[in-house]
């Protein structure tokens, strides 16, 4: 398989960062997932592996890292990385109600982008977005792949309160607020199901490299899924994406 020119960078006494070229694309992401898959077997327990866009950060708070030795070992392992392994990646379909009751900015966004509201919904639900990172808040996904004609600047004045589940557009990004928080994204709808559940195992359903699709639902379906989510019986639609 194609190898990238990776570099290992120091990150304090207990971590190291593996950097791929500064690009947002599927090739780099797949290569990161392949190496992560390998390292999860090769490294002892106690390591945490945090991938995002073009980097993979390895943290071990239990033991300090011998920088020269460990960095060399990582490069050797990367060179030895064999043929592509089957790292399972899933596509998740999440319900979104785009009614103006939830999508506070949908009318304004549609008119700025010169679409009808229906056209905007069709475009937003037609793409499978790639999860390039999870961070900022527990369960916040950095999604890539927004069609160019859906790019719109952040709101001039951020809202002090954006409801949990709100689906937004900002710049090259679309995403879901996993918790109530302040925020400057244009809000076009709301997802009724809780994304992050501390009682579930794992507490967050998606992983880096997974795909997210949105499915438009009516207010009645939204209410039903919300109740299903609250009592813990809602299962998001899931299928193997790279089978």
């Amino acid at each position: 398989m194609k190898k990238y020119p990776i570099t290992i960078k120091p990150f304090g006494l207990h971590a190291a960062l593996i950097a791929w070229p500064d690009q947002v694309n599927e090739g780099v992401l797949e290569d990161i997932l392949q190496f992560k898959h390998f390292l999860m077997d090769a490294l002892e327990d106690g390591w945490e592996l945090i991938p995002a866009y073009n980097s993979l950060t390895l943290v071990n708070t239990c033991i300090p890292i011998d920088e020269n030795k460990f960095h060399g070992q990582l490069l050797t392992w990367y060179k030895q990385l064999g043929p592509k392994q089957a790292v399972q990646r899933y596509q998740w379909t999440l319900p979104v109600c785009y009614d103006s009751e939830f999508g506070h900015d949908i009318q304004e966004v549609a008119s700025t982008l010169t679409f009808s509201v229906d056209e905007l919904i069709t475009k937003h639900t037609a793409t499978a977005y790639t999860v390039y990172g999870i961070g900022f808040l527990p369960g916040f996904m950095y999604l890539g792949g927004l069609p160019k004609d859906l790019e719109i600047p952040r709101k001039q004045t951020p809202r002090l309160h954006v409801d949990k589940g709100s689906v937004g557009l900002a710049g090259k990004q679309t995403g879901i607020y996993p918790q109530d928080s302040p925020g400057g994204w244009n809000i076009i709808g709301r997802c009724p199901i809780p994304l992050f559940n501390t009682k579930a195992s794992p507490p967050f359903f998606a992983s880096i490299g997974d795909k997210i699709r949105f499915k438009a639902v009516s207010k009645a379906e939204y209410d039903l899924h919300k109740i299903e989510g609250e009592v813990g019986i809602y299962q998001p639609e899931k299928k193997l994406w790279n089978a």
């Binding site: 960078k9 120091p10 500064d22 990172g133 900022f136 527990p138 109530d180």
Partner: protein, 280 residues
């Protein structure tokens, strides 16, 4: 029960932290000053991950409803037990009905109260540390009650250790972080030659520093951050992420504080100065 009569400025339940969930965006949390925490638990012969109270700037007023033993560590907040002064780094016996309260901040910024056997508090994702949105609150409120086990007889092997003032040190040890090598010679000089002042924007998530170094226009893709990561904003300001800090960020990461350096910084307040020293 431990009854919170008054909660103080910002008092929270913390333990050693919440590990193995950073990849889904969950901060580590846990005590800001692990040195003080470790010593308080050591004196009581608690497990090294026992939950304690972390208080900030002013202490709470607490009523103990069961017999136990306690130890205080970290900042000196002029603690009193039934109005009699007590000292940090020493084991005290508590009788049901005793009241622990705090007064003037003498030094440091964060103080710890450990109770024999640790505080019993709901564990979320393997940790009792309070952090919104994983827990309902991120600090104690007046009238709250926290469970602990009754201990009537405990003979501490070491009842008292020397009062430690490591946190009066102005030097904060750092190692290189991923974007350190992108700094100019002048920026590196500015980092290590001058001292920095803690801004009023300081809390469990991050400490901002007042002085700026040269501005930059480096851009990078969002990537992992940790407690102790020093981020450089485009305007040249430094932000030191602390225990509740976000797990990813888009600003260049230039330095990484050691765990001991995080403990020292956690004891600094607005207006205090620090200097960075690079470890080899």
């Amino acid at each position: 029960m431990l009854k919170v009569l008054k909660s103080g400025f910002f008092t929270s339940v913390q333990d050693i932290g919440r590990y193995h969930y950073r990849h889904i965006g969950v901060p580590v949390s846990g005590v800001m000053d692990y040195k003080a925490y470790t010593k308080a638990n050591f004196l009581l012969e608690n497990t090294p991950d026992a939950a304690v109270l972390e208080m900030t700037m002013t202490g709470p007023t607490l009523l103990f409803e069961l017999d136990t033993y306690i130890a205080l560590a970290g900042a000196n907040l002029s603690a009193t037990l039934n109005n009699e002064p007590i000292e940090n780094y020493q084991v005290y016996q508590i009788k049901a009905g005793d009241i622990l309260s705090y007064g003037r901040l003498e030094n440091g910024f964060r103080s710890y109260l450990a109770v024999k056997g640790g505080l019993q508090f709901d564990s979320v994702l393997g940790s009792k540390s309070q952090y919104i949105p994983l827990t309902k609150n991120n600090h104690l409120t007046d009238g709250m009650q926290i469970s602990y086990a009754e201990t009537k007889d405990f003979q501490p092997k070491i009842p008292k250790i020397k009062i430690d003032t490591y946190f009066e040190d102005l030097t904060v040890h750092v190692a290189k972080a991923p974007e350190y090598d992108l700094l100019t010679q002048n920026q590196k000089k500015q980092l290590f030659d001058a001292s920095f002042t803690v801004a009023k924007e300081n809390n469990r998530m991050a400490y901002q520093l007042k002085e700026a170094i040269d501005a930059h226009n480096l851009s990078m893709l969002t990537s992992a951050t940790m407690p102790g990561t020093v981020q450089l904003t485009p305007a040249g300001k430094l932000i030191v992420l602390m225990k509740d800090g976000q797990t990813t960020g888009g600003y260049p990461r230039i330095l990484q504080l050691t765990e001991e350096a995080i403990a020292i910084l956690a004891q600094k307040k607005s207006g205090d100065s620090i200097t960075f020293q690079l470890r080899n």
